[in-house]
């Protein structure tokens, strides 16, 4: 009986479990159907999602201005319902959760999700900036063939690479959601491990303050693409890191049973409090997203600006949301609001949402074809402004961005400078340097304000074109030339092991003192009061002062400090553990050499003819080399106090290294596509051989572009610079923040722009880049605007006498007018016979 019970009980349990599964499925379906019914007639039971989450039926708006309550079941990427309490549930899928009502296929063609569409999508926008500080790379990228940007595909960047680089500021979709064919074409990618990042509807439409862009970025960096939307939206808590899992892992493999500490497979724990009894999740949504959603990726702030002192865009101050103007239908082809957009995109509604459309009721030709005054837009009278301004200038020239100054101001943007990713470590970067405003003539001949970035990258010169190299290729060729800070930091970290708690080993050079930091680099601080160190010296920071690491003493003297040789012993032990040490660590004090020989601490007289300066060093081929090479010390000293990451010496050495390797390292990790990369400025394409993984011509010179100049080695092997099209800056239009009317150009009269020394016409923008050099390019405002500088200066001078000319004209009018009145009176008098006609 007991034996039978042992079989019967589990069997009954299994039967009960099966019964529950079946009825549960039914109740879930019923719940879904009820939810659909309650949402309105469009969501009837026949509107079941297809296997790919697309609903081909067009659901017309019923006219209600409310947002439906989204208490809906979650589905995963297999279109399976998610039970939040089950073990290891999948993250939710927007495609199958939102898709039944909002056609996913229609949405994915929208502006934010068609990043990889090759056709130029209207007016150029901000490119993605590939930033690699180590190699001094600031490379503008765009799939959309915008001028000044490089095609990522042509540079060998796959969708996976692009997602790893920039997925932090994606809204999902686009490169992060490749097709199955694209996945198969990238064997090195880890899509099977990470999953795809679908369009993240919550990134814009989540009204909950739990929406966390930093969490999204963190999950992307952890390669938890499939889980990122769930984590960022606060729908559930996501742990684990796909980046630590092996290449063949897949979610169907389940958790990593061998490792619960480090290589933990991603998992999600849902916030069950947000689910109802039918396992439906409540999405707190906004039909029109709040501004904070947009600003996660579209923030722009001046460097050094105090947040409390900034002023918002006048539209925001008036209560408008971003999405009030930048609106879209289900297709998510958002209106960008520039003149000519209606013609570019074929969306006539866009005409109403330009500056002219809203405020003047005019289309781009000036015809009154649209109804003005949307959202109570005031009508600008523009009193006293000559008509030519409206023909040659965009509205944003006078009304948007910072007022013109002698030099453009520096700003940070979300996507270029990695803003908005908060946590223990702040992730934003000062570079690339984004400058605004610069005024550039657009394709329609109108001048408009723009932001500007000077590109910086390594490349190979093919004829007149420059073919960029990937940073990894440059690192492979450059080796330690790029890492002098790391080398010195390693030495300091090694020495630190032999120091007391209140001591910190430092390197003093020039007026700076260098200390190792937790990132493996160096922190520089100004030397405490005292003369500049002419030569670099290794010292100890003790309290607030610096003392020599190894003070000078007489090794033969019986009065020497008793612990000094003990310290030397500990230094040598510590240095011997340093990785990549160039030789055996030794210390030379006067003529006495301290070293470890066969494991024994050896104190002996230095051999005759021994070369080397007193102090610690490396014994290399019988010679004492300094702990840090002169190149390393020179390089870190030169760059201290600057934001540059490369010196001319480094560039020279790297160009030599690239030339010696013949570009093999570059070609090995460079572009593998058929088409040669070409910068979108109409430049000719490079020969195909240069990009097919084969070695380039042995004499093909390598170059470095920075700060508006192209640097290469001349015939004598010295670094020379020249102007080049590849070094030209990339610009993109700006339209925000719109300033209040009293801060607009022209409010104070014509002199705001028209004067002999006008900042609008006669400012210039100097080249900036990672290279520390005096050889930089420069662009004058008039050259960017495509107008004559001499004429503008002359014209500006005339404004000095303009008030006088107005007075002269007024007097002439008075005199002439008076005479005309008299003549008229004479005519009337003669006609009336009051005055006799002259015979």
């Amino acid at each position: 009986m007991r034996a039978a019970a042992r079989f019967v009980a589990p069997g009954l349990c299994l039967l009960a479990l099966a019964a529950w599964a079946v009825t549960g499925q039914d109740s879930r379906s019923a719940a879904q159907g009820r939810a659909q019914e309650s949402a309105g007639p469009a969501m009837d039971a026949t509107a079941q999602p297809s296997t790919n989450g697309q609903n081909d039926r067009v659901k017309p708006w019923d006219g209600s201005r409310t947002t439906p309550v989204h208490l809906i079941p979650l589905k995963d990427e297999n279109d399976a319902p998610i039970i939040p309490t089950e073990a290891r549930p999948m993250p939710y899928s927007a495609r199958f959760t939102c898709g039944p009502c909002h056609a996913y296929a229609t949405i994915r063609g929208g502006l934010h999700f068609n990043t990889m569409a090759p056709q130029a999508a209207g007016r150029p926008g901000e490119p993605w900036i590939w930033l690699d500080r180590a190699t001094g790379t600031v490379l503008p990228l765009s799939y959309k063939k915008w001028p000044g940007s490089w095609d990522p595909k042509a540079l060998g960047l796959s969708a996976w690479d692009f997602t790893q680089l920039f997925g932090r500021h994606f809204p999902g979709g686009g490169p992060a959601e490749p097709s199955d064919d694209e996945v198969l074409s990238e064997p090195d990618a880890r899509w099977n491990v990470s999953g795809k990042a679908e369009i993240n509807c919550l990134a814009c439409h989540n009204a909950s303050n739990r929406q966390d862009h930093g969490e999204w970025a963190k999950q992307i960096l952890r390669q938890n693409l499939r889980w990122a939307a769930t984590a960022a939206g606060g729908v559930g808590e996501v742990g684990g890191m796909a980046s630590r899992l092996w290449n063949t892992w897949s979610y169907v493999d389940g958790p990593n049973l061998d490792d619960h500490e480090w290589a933990v497979a991603p998992f999600v724990t849902y916030r069950t409090i947000d689910f109802d009894g039918k396992h439906r999740y409540f999405f707190d949504l906004d039909y029109r997203p709040a501004d904070t959603r947009c600003l996660a990726c579209h923030s722009v702030s001046a460097t050094g600006e105090v947040r409390a002192h900034g002023q918002p865009d006048v539209h925001s101050a008036a209560g408008l949301k971003c999405a009030d103007c930048h609106r879209n239908d289900l297709g998510h082809g958002m209106i960008r609001g520039y003149e000519g957009e209606a013609a570019d995109t074929g969306n006539p509604a866009a005409e109403s949402f330009t500056c002219r459309g809203c405020h003047l009721g005019q289309d781009q030709t000036g015809k009154r074809l649209v109804r003005p005054g949307r959202m109570s837009a005031p009508y600008p009278k523009h009193t006293g402004i000559p008509l030519v301004h409206f023909k040659t200038l965009e509205c944003a020239v006078c009304h948007s961005g910072p007022r013109p100054a002698k030099e453009p101001s520096r700003v940070r943007t979300s996507r270029a400078n990695r803003l908005g990713i908060h946590g223990v470590a702040q992730w934003f970067t000062e570079t690339p340097a984004v400058l605004e405003p610069v005024f550039v003539k657009n394709a329609h001949g109108k001048i408009g304000p723009r932001r500007l970035v000077w590109p910086a990258f390594w490349g190979r010169l093919d004829g007149k074109d420059v073919v960029p190299l990937r940073p990894e290729a440059v690192q492979n060729a450059a080796g330690k030339v790029l890492r002098p800070e790391a080398s010195i930091a390693q030495t300091l970290v090694a020495l630190y092991q032999a120091c007391a708690e209140d001591e910190m080993p430092v390197l003093a050079s020039g007026k700076f003192v260098f200390e190792a930091n937790v990132d493996g680099g160096l922190d520089a601080s100004e030397r405490p009061s005292g003369p500049e160190a002419r030569e670099a010296s290794w010292e100890l920071r003790k309290g607030g002062s610096l003392v020599p690491l190894i003070p000078d003493f007489d090794p033969a003297s019986p009065d020497k400090a008793p612990d000094i040789e003990g310290r030397i012993l500990s230094y040598l032990q510590a240095l011997s553990l340093r990785a990549d040490s160039p030789g055996k660590p030794v210390v030379l004090v006067r003529r006495t050499l301290y070293q470890f020989t066969d494991g024994i601490f050896d104190v002996s007289e230095a051999p005759e003819g021994f070369e080397g300066s007193p102090g610690a060093g490396w014994l290399v081929e019988g010679k004492l080399r300094p702990l840090a090479s002169p190149f390393e010390v020179r390089t870190v000293t030169a760059k201290s106090g600057t934001e540059q990451t490369l010196t001319e010496e480094q560039v020279t050495l790297i160009l030599q290294a690239l030339a010696e390797t013949g570009g093999q390292a570059a070609a090995a990790s460079g572009a593998e596509t058929e088409a040669a990369p070409e910068r979108r400025s109409g430049h000719g394409s490079a020969p195909a051989a240069a990009s097919e993984g084969r070695e380039g011509p042995p004499s093909a010179p390598f170059v470095y572009v920075s700060g508006g100049r192209l640097f290469k080695l001349d015939s004598r092997g010295r670094l020379a610079s020249e102007a080049h099209e590849a070094a030209e800056p990339v610009t993109w239009p700006l339209a925000h923040d719109v300033r209040p009317v009293q801060q607009s150009l022209g409010w104070n009269g014509c002199g705001d722009c028209h004067s002999a020394g006008s900042k609008f016409f006669f400012s210039s923008v100097k080249g900036t880049g990672p290279l520390l050099t005096a050889s930089t390019g420069s662009k004058s405002a008039t050259s960017l605007m495509g107008i004559g500088g001499l004429f503008q200066r002359t014209f500006g001078l005339t404004f000095a006498v303009r008030p006088l000319s107005k007075i002269v004209l007024a007097l002439a009018i008075l005199i002439t007018g008076a005479l005309l009145v008299v003549a008229f009176l004479v005519v009337i008098g003669r006609l009336a016979g009051l005055i006799e006609k002259r015979q």
Binding site: P380, G384, I813, L820, R830
Partner: protein, 237 residues
């Protein structure tokens, strides 16, 4: 539309003045040609005169006439005032109409700068010239007279016969002078007002159009005035 109207108006005025010369000549020499000069005779005469003007004798005659005008004895101030007026007006008309008719963008650049500078000089010269020449060209119309109503309106007499006004050429010249002054005044006003912070966008558009049409009026008046005053038809011998 402005370009078309300007071109047609200038051509029309030119033809009109030419027809006046032709008509006057025909009236003085009734024995020549037909009694009623028609379009055919006018066109033959017109093209003959144009051809004559383009030949050397014609050009020499024009040059001599201009020299005689320039050598008229006049006070220095008046002379330079008139030179300034004519020169600036010629430049303003040439630059303004060329850009208005042939350049879609309109006046811009250095030409605009010079146009404005010349405009200021023109305004001053116009004012002073008006003062100096007002006496010479004082309006002199006769009193208007209406016939006494006799209660009898003869049949067949149209209303156009009620008032008959005879205008001597001198009065026409005077009238053209004042039309030119009025147009110049209008040009100056429409140039100054946009520079003041009084008018909004639509107002600027209206002032701009006002300036153009005033310029056309001034040019037409100047052409007619110059034709009648400086190039009078010599009476038939």
């Amino acid at each position: 539309m402005f370009a078309i109207v300007s071109v047609l108006a200038i051509i029309g005025l030119w033809l009109g003045l030419a027809f006046r010369r032709f008509g006057t000549r025909a009236a003085e020499r009734p024995a020549e040609g037909t009694n009623k000069p028609g379009p055919g005779a006018f066109s033959r005469w017109f093209f003959r005169r144009v051809a004559e003007s383009l030949r050397k004798p014609g050009r020499d005659a024009l040059t001599d006439r201009l020299r005689s005008l320039a050598s008229r004895r006049a006070p220095v101030l008046e002379k330079w005032l008139l030179v300034g007026l004519y020169a600036t007006f010629l430049f303003l008309a040439a630059s303004g109409f060329f850009f208005a008719i042939f350049i879609e963008r309109g006046l811009f650049g250095v030409t605009l700068l010079l146009h404005f500078t010349a405009g200021v000089i023109f305004a001053v010269c116009l004012a002073l010239t008006a003062i100096l020449k007002a006496g010479r060209y004082v309006p002199n119309p006769g009193p208007l007279s209406l016939p006494a109503f006799s209660g009898d309106f003869p049949a067949g007499r149209g209303i156009g016969k009620v008032m008959e006004v005879s205008v001597p050429a001198r009065d026409i010249i005077s009238g053209l002078f004042w039309v030119f002054v009025l147009a110049g005044f209008s040009l100056t006003v429409s140039a100054l007002l946009p520079m003041l912070p009084w008018f909004h966008y639509q107002g600027q558009v209206i002032l701009f159009a006002w300036h153009r049409w005033s310029a056309l009026a001034a040019l037409l008046a100047a052409i007619a005035f110059a034709d009648l005053e400086f190039f009078p038809r010599r009476p038939a011998a």
